[in-house]
Symmetry: C2
């Protein structure tokens, strides 16, 4: 591809982005789209009336950009929680790293590449883009020292930035833990693999075990029931309620009847939960059969729960398995009923399935690769020759089509990986998302990068990496050659995905269908979408990965990347502030993924650089890069020692101080009272939500809250700290301007 091709591609994308962004700035002002662009809760608050017409509504305006830019970290934390803040930090940190890389590479490395003497220069517009890559520098040139130095600067600045971000985010995580002191999950552990016995029910076993071994700190417990379908158990619940006194449980029907459930029934329950529960069991022995070998156990202090979750309970490691429970909204109830001994098989099976999926994906990637090699395609499919005579068509096909095709195929990946992660059996939604993120990330790096780079070879000379020792050399020859493709990939996949993210075309379409085709009057409550970390984090990290590997080889990619990261920080800020609602938190667990990926990218870049220096016979530069790899790996190991344990476990000191504070100010008893009603396996599903599910308005079924929504029942989320705070309708009006 030549410069003109790249400019065509850039032009199309810039135009598209501008059109979409202006369209967005108009669409967001339409009251009928509020539910798409301002999230479920805002929509509910303002839906009544005031549909007044003004000319201002149809003029594109950049005010949302200003708003997003001005949002402080506190606002982000308040709106989106720690995960959103960490995600934005990932974007911002990448932006910073590549700003430094651009400052180093554009003025210093790019001219060296361009004035290298390997290739002949042509007229600028038809200048091949390969002229700007490291491939143009002559063998044995002294200029490779500059490349080596630039690599040092980029690596060191990346490490320094990573270090301070990791430190900062660790601090934020600790503050988050201290700040969300009412979070019931700190008092709760999940016990699985409760050994079954003929004499006593599971519930009794749990009670006996914990009163025997954790007598001083055990508070109460709540069994997990086999879900089957929610409806079936709802029926059971109503049966129980009919059996027991209907007067006492008048308002209970809205809850679930098995666990503490809704807050307005909780006074009854918490005053005598034991008696109620035992009565339920006496009355309905059928329930016992529905008990899983899993339970949530509540403790008196956070420290006691932490201890109980971390210690190996029984001499048989396959029974009485304990974990800290997730937050109430984070629990993935369906998976709690999976027998514990299945888990390891499931984990292996999904691992194999993911690898299989990754390998099978080579087929479409190879197809896309074919589009870049037009001559070969023409040879195979002669009928294409007519189409490819037009210069514009050639530019379009080589510059734009391959990445569009790849992008379309890639849309199938996150749902598939999410499915695998669900089957794997995580106990919380955030774990599931994290696991899916990692899978999607591996997938992207493998398929977009490695297979793409090597499939170029496949078509050219039918030989994959044939041995490990010349893999470096192969990478070194293949990677710079593919720079063109990845530049267009950043343009199409990167920029366009941001525009589509902010436009929410799917939500918009659904909203349109719902309102104007089905002609419904009420707002389509599209189930308060939560942020799709499993698609966005891998995407951002993939661009970071591409940025590192190409910053030296083909620095021309950096401006495009910088635009992407700049736009991304704005768009995601806006989305977090306005669109997505945070219902659960992983507590910053996404940062270690970013850290590891960046280190991996750095090391791979360094390895490729060694390969390139070696190929270009600059052995001294290659030798000087080796210490950099060692330094990077040591830095990674240090961070793993210094920061990572905080992301795995909660520190005893922190939890104990929280316990002490609550005990001193006397709020502990109130917390204890609320605990039994915090987790609610089966809850009243409002019709409107069920409809939303059936209409498929929600991207992800599990993102639909099946607990009672906050507005109908303000007490159902009794113990969450800095959770999403709904702005008033006044604020909304202001926001929309």
């Amino acid at each position: 591809m030549d410069i003109a091709g790249l400019l065509t591609s850039a032009g199309i994308n810039i135009g598209l982005c501008l059109v979409l962004l202006s369209l967005y700035s108009v669409l967001r002002k339409q009251p009928s789209n509020a539910c798409v662009y301002f999230g479920q809760r805002l929509a509910q608050l303002q839906s009544k009336g005031r549909d007044h017409f003004s000319f201002d509504r149809f003029v594109p305006s950049p005010r949302w950009i200003v708003k997003a830019w001005e949002a402080s970290e506190e606002e982000i934390l308040a709106c989106g929680g720690l995960d959103a803040a960490v995600f934005l930090r990932i974007v911002v940190c990448s932006r910073r790293i590549f700003s430094i890389a651009a400052v180093i590479c554009i003025p210093f490395v790019l001219p060296l590449n361009y004035f290298g003497k390997e290739m002949r220069h042509r007229h600028i517009p038809s200048e091949s883009l390969d002229v700007f890559t490291i491939g143009n520098v002559k063998e044995g040139s002294k200029w490779f020292w500059a490349h080596c130095l630039a690599l040092y600067v980029i690596s060191c600045s990346a490490c320094v930035l990573l270090y301070f971000e990791y430190k900062n985010i660790t601090k934020m995580r600790l503050e988050h833990i201290v700040g969300s002191s009412l979070n019931p999950s700190y008092f709760t552990i999940l016990v699985r693999a409760i050994p079954s016995s003929a004499e006593e029910s599971c519930s009794d076993s749990v009670k006996n075990f914990f009163t025997r071994y954790h007598a001083s700190s055990y508070l109460s417990h709540q069994m997990v029931y086999r879900s089957g379908t929610v409806q079936k158990l709802m029926d059971d619940a109503s049966k129980i309620i009919k059996c027991t006194s209907t007067e006492q449980f008048g308002s209970y029907l809205k809850g679930c009847g098995l666990c503490g459930g809704a807050a307005h029934s909780f006074k009854v329950l918490s005053s005598e939960p034991e008696s109620v529960r035992s009565r339920n069991e006496m009355v309905n022995p059928e329930l016992r059969d529905k008990e899983c070998a899993a339970a949530l156990v509540f403790f008196k202090t956070r420290y006691a729960a932490l201890v109980a979750s971390q210690v190996l309970q029984s001499a048989n490691p396959m029974s009485w398995v304990t974990d800290l429970a997730p937050e109430p909204h984070d629990v993935y109830w369906k998976n709690l009923s999976i027998p514990y001994r299945q888990l390891w098989v499931r984990r292996i099976a999904t691992l194999l399935a993911s690898i299989g999926f990754m390998i099978l994906f080579i087929v479409p990637v190879t197809f896309v690769q074919g589009l870049l090699h037009l001559e070969q395609l023409q040879r195979r499919f002669p009928f294409l020759r007519g189409v490819l005579k037009s210069k514009f068509m050639v530019r379009l096909i080589t510059g734009y089509l391959p990445s569009v095709v790849l992008m379309l195929f890639l849309y199938a990946v996150p749902p598939t990986m999410m499915m695998f992660s669900t089957i794997e059996g995580p106990i919380s939604r955030s774990c599931r998302k994290k696991s899916a993120s990692v899978k999607v990330l591996y997938f992207l790096i493998w398929n977009v990068f490695f297979v793409y780079v090597s499939s170029a070879k496949v078509l050219e000379r039918l030989g994959l990496f044939s041995s490990p020792k010349d893999m470096t050399a192969q990478l070194a020859t293949a990677v710079p050659g593919q720079a063109t493709f990845f530049m267009t990939y950043v343009l199409t996949s990167g920029w366009a995905s941001l525009a589509s993210e902010i436009m929410q075309p799917y939500g918009l379409l659904c909203n349109f269908v719902y309102k104007y085709i089905l002609r419904k009057k009420d707002e389509p409550s599209n189930g308060t979408l939560s942020f799709p970390y499993h698609t966005e984090i891998p995407r951002v990290l993939l661009f970071g990965f591409l940025g590192f590997t190409y910053s030296l080889m083909a620095p021309l990619i950096l401006p495009f990347l910088l635009v992407y990261f700049f736009l991304a920080s704005l768009v995601y800020r806006n989305q977090i502030l306005n669109v997505y609602v945070t219902k659960y938190e992983s507590g910053g667990q996404f940062w270690p993924i970013m850290h590891n990926t960046t280190i991996f990218s750095l090391v791979l870049t360094q390895v490729i650089a060694i390969g390139v220096f070696g190929l270009k016979r600059s052995t001294v530069a290659a030798a000087f890069t080796v210490p950099l790899i060692i330094f990077t790996l040591l830095f990674n190991e240090y961070c793993r020692q210094r920061f990572h344990p905080v992301f795995k476990d909660n520190a005893a000191q922190v939890l104990m101080e929280m316990d002490r504070k609550d005990e001193q100010c006397g709020s502990m008893e109130a917390i204890h009272k609320q605990l039994p009603s915090a987790y609610c396996q089966f809850a009243y599903t409002p019709n409107i939500l069920r409809k939303a599910v059936s209409l498929n308005l929600c991207k992800d079924e599990d993102d639909v809250s099946i607990c009672i929504p906050e507005d109908t029942n303000p007490g159902s989320k009794p113990a969450q700290g800095n959770d999403s705070r709904g702005p008033s309708s006044m604020e909304i009006e202001e926001l929309k301007k």
Copy 2:
């Protein structure tokens, strides 16, 4: 090599073994050698008099074999502790697996190999040994089904045996924990990386931290001091004693003066340990500078110590790092003073050093390999031609010399690896031994097997494994070809090492020098050797590894291996009962190494089998082996889930029951009183021991007990369960018959 060569080699070895074993049966009856063959404690008990002469003393007798054979597991446990029992189980389990393999392979697989039609048969004595390998079976033969079936039988029986052994050893470990209920290590944790502060000493920091966060269970603590030299601190100790009242600490000099120390001073200490300690510190502020950022902290219950050791204490994971303390005799005091933040660097450095050592070792292995290829040697060194004309010399050189040379080189490996493991910084001797075992094992498998197999190729056609995809094929061609060498390796390294192990030539020599050259009258107390697990376990596992890989390829190796394992179980039993004294225990931690190695061997065998089947164009047999690999890996994963956690952590349930029992029978207070004196960093070193060290009588300096030996101070080991029990002099007389 032909059959005659093998028989020569076998003959030499059998003769050597018989001579050495008879010699042993005579030597062990000589009273002057009692200290070599009956360990330190027996020697002490019987040294006085009764040196009566009898003819019986000079007649070889097999009675020791009978005694070793008859020893029950209880006796082994009582004499050698759990580790010795586990070690014998490793040997016995290998013996059983290879008995089954021999039953399958000798009657069924060996004839198939021999009557395969690939090679021409010659007269039996000069029949090449290659005729007995799988290389002789024709391409595409249907007989490979028998090999495949045999592989299934061997793999399944190995898995079944491994499973039951793992189960059994897990049970034994739990019983050991319950049995050694007085072990002070259960009450103790080691705290490292105590943050330093200007205001207070480390000791005060520890006290404040644990009284603040573990008030209910904290008992007391003991600082670790920078060791420098033992002597220097002994001086300090005597200074302190001079400063404080000399009357009160009259008998204290024999202890260490810094920590609880000897048992007869413990009454004074435990009655007012705090006051004594604080007085010491007031009097001698110099001591503060010698404090490390490490301390042993004692808790009131085992469970509390377990919890404190497992929970992440501080928000900074690099401070207040806790681990369960090792047993008092197991503590490797020198390493406790290593700053915690150095540890990860040390770990990486030793890893790299070990890998470097492994790679450099290729040189001698290649040399040994050369000895097998006589023609090539003759071509290079023409002067050898004269020597090599004699048939006997050729047999000797090809059949015996290579493995002797290799064995001599290999003697340098365990001490080197032990050094690496020491530098790594483990806190206990048992951890160090375990780590050294693993390193030596990797070393052996890599250098004896892989490099040997591939260096055969290096000499033949100068090409190492050039790519991963034909590595299987390369292994499949190279492995059967080297069967001859490994048969002789089993003969020389295996059998001879056992004979040398039982003879203890080094100890015998030292004893001789000490008694008859230096003409000393007193017994050379050679410091109560502890079992050299780091040399013996890798050796046994290496033979297991060879057994698996060759059981199908060259079943002729199996009888030799069976003899080895049979002899090994006798010899090691005898050594454990008579020679080695167990001072510390890892609690069966060696079993997981055995398990993992066996699984690795199995999988490698299966991979090689697939390669061989593939090369021999028996694709169906190759395809049928694939599920076996999957099954083996799944089995391994299951065992890892089911048993391994018990070897990593102690189960809370078990410890709590022990706590409860002690509380109920009122022995808890006595334990609490003894705790502060259980660990003793600097102890009185008796002159005799120091002399032993200087004479270098002890294989390993660290095996010398530098605490007060039990006989002079029967209370210094107050809280060890089934530790080595000294037999009476009556028993010794009986033993020696």
